[in-house]
Amino acid sequence: MRKKGLITVIILIAVFILISMVFTDQLVEKGIEKTIQFVTGAKAEIDNLDLNIFSLGIAWDRLQVADPPKPFQNLVETGRTSFSMNLPALLRKKYVINEITVLNAQSGTSRETDGSLPKLRKRIGKRSPSKWDQVKGKITSNLEEAELLGLSVKDIPRSLNTDSLIAKADLQIVESYEIVSSDIESTTDKWEQYYSEFDVQEKLDSIHSQIKSIEPDNINTIDKALEEIEKVRTIQKTMNSYRKEISKKREEAETDYQRLSGFKEQYKRWLSEDYENILKKAQLPEFSLKNASKIIFGKSVIFKLDRYIEYAEIISRITGKPGEKKKKKPPRQEGQNIRFPEKQIWPVFLAKKIEISTGEERIEKQKVPYLQGKVTGLTTQPRVYGKPTAFDLRGKYGGNREILFNAVLDRTKEHFADTYSIGLRNISLKGVEFEKNQYVPETIKSGFADIDIDIRNTEETMEIIFFLQGKDLEYGFRESSESDQITATIRDIFRGLGRLNLKSTVIIKDQTYNFEIASNFDKKFSQSISTASSKKLAEIKNKIKSALQEKADKRIAELDKKYGNVYSRYLQPILEYRKESELMREELADKLKELKDKQTEDLGKKAEDLLEDLLKKKK
């Protein structure tokens, strides 16, 4: 054993421990801060992190995570937080924590410094644009268009020349008339030609008259009866030959019937399309009951949703999605790592349980909520862990105000399914500003609300439901004249709208969306507005509709006449031949039976007479 060698080893170990004690705390602190920043896109700061390399315990006094949309506020601020790492997992470069204890966690606390990291936030947004990101722009621009239409309500022309509008338009009901009419005419010619060679009606009539001519009651002799039976058989043969001939043409007649008989339905569609096209050309405002709430509240709702969806996406980024990150195969010279069955498999990061608690006595005085609850199964590899990540948090603060947050992020299967539920109870709306819109109030002066936001995000679809119940609301308006009627009406409605119930749904699928808003504002709005502008609009619309209807009716009547002719003269006899021939066949069968009965009766009588004559001669 070398003495100097032993001293060298001891010195090396001592230096390693010393470096660990001095620098590891800072390294771990920076590492955790960077990881959080990478997820949130905003600044994260840890105060006084302490790492115990022997027990693998980590603790800090304070953690601040800035709110990305509000960089001078904290999304989360924690007090004393402590946890221990799992050694066997750590040796395999897996960060597994059984329980994290967080004390005095708050949301919405103010920051002394700017917590924004705009470059990182932009990079995160570009890296993984969500379904919401993909349609948000479309929704906003559509709302702006709707708003423009709404604004033009005041410009409804006092007298609109509907006749010139209709005259200028390329009407389908006019253009298609010629097409349908010539179709009917050519079909008529075709069948006329056929009937000149084989008149179905005439043939039917002749058979019918032949059947009528057979009268079994007037037959007196057997020869006459036999003659009539022969006649019936001849009629049956003729009927069968006609049937064969007509069967060949029946399919053609049916096709013509199907095509021509649908013209009335087609006309209804053309009429509706012509009507819509003229409305578009007339640029009449669509300020209907259906989209009033959208125009009034749409942008503000989208703005609110955007913020909450960003929070949901931050949480979503913590948990890995199925199928993400495939490891590259190592180059050949590095050999191949063979995997064997493991008794315990850990995800790269797993916090089995995060327990967040606070003292009840603090609640009453707080302006921002202290969070309580737990987060379970927070992991970067949910399929390895096999359980979904669940959040169950609530925060109470002064004035019975409350925040509820529940989420289940299920990425354990091939396709992920995340549900988020955010509830805000009794929150003050004082000072809330609306998106700039001439109808909407500038701000809310006072009032409270309960807000619920439910988000369901899967591989294919994203469904968002936003529900707001406002109480004791008072609004502040911009200084402007209320010259136009709509603005004045809307402001009047707002002045009396102390309670506001608003529900909005957004469904996103394959980069298309459906965005709806309904509120009790709609009802009041429709009551007030229908007396004025909407009435005028309705009048104009009715005028256009009736002018078009008149044009269409005239043409329908002409076409109906032509169609009636071809149908009754040519198509109907062929289409109904089978029915007619069945009736005639029955009639013939009856006649034949009668004839046979008659024949049997006559023969019997004659036999009796002959027998009687013979007996008389013998006597």
């Binding site: 054993m1 070398r2 100097k4 060698g5 032993l6 060298t8 080893v9 050694l87 066997p88 040796l91 395999r92 470069k93 050949r332 010279q333 590095e334 050999g335 191949q336 790592n337 063979i338 995997r339 064997f340 069955p341 493991e342 008794k343």
Partner: protein, 174 residues
Amino acid sequence: MIIFKILSKFIKALRSHDSPSQIAWGITLGTILGLTPFFTFHNFILIILIILIKVNLSAVVFSLILYSLLGYVLDPVFHALGFTLLVNVDFLQPVWVWLYNLPIAPFTRFNNTVVIGSLVFALVLLIPHYLLFKKLVLKYRTSWNTAIQKWKITRMLQGNKLVRFYFKLRDWRG
């Protein structure tokens, strides 16, 4: 040229006061370091062992460099050997599974085909290597030393500043 300096040191080590066993063990342990990928747990233990026990360091360095070059060439052979041992030898499977589940397993990298292949190769050669090199050192000291000392290249290498520094360092270590 660094290779000549190392060669010079090694030749001087052969003539030093170190016993043939120390030099042979130095070469043998250097063989393991050279043949197997460097950053592994067994090499860490081996380096501590080399510092603690009395083996010839020049022999270790010389052997490490020589066998590293050889190891690079033999990588495909090590991979094939390692793959066979890890995958195709059924009776070894329970051993590998047990090792794989040990907390220390990730540091050993034993489940890497090149690591296990080269380590087994080096271990198999351990005793034959030791015996062969011990015999060669003895042979050198009794028969070849005088002849080699007369070579021009030997004298040239002995005058090198670095080599003189090495001697000082060697004397300090005792």
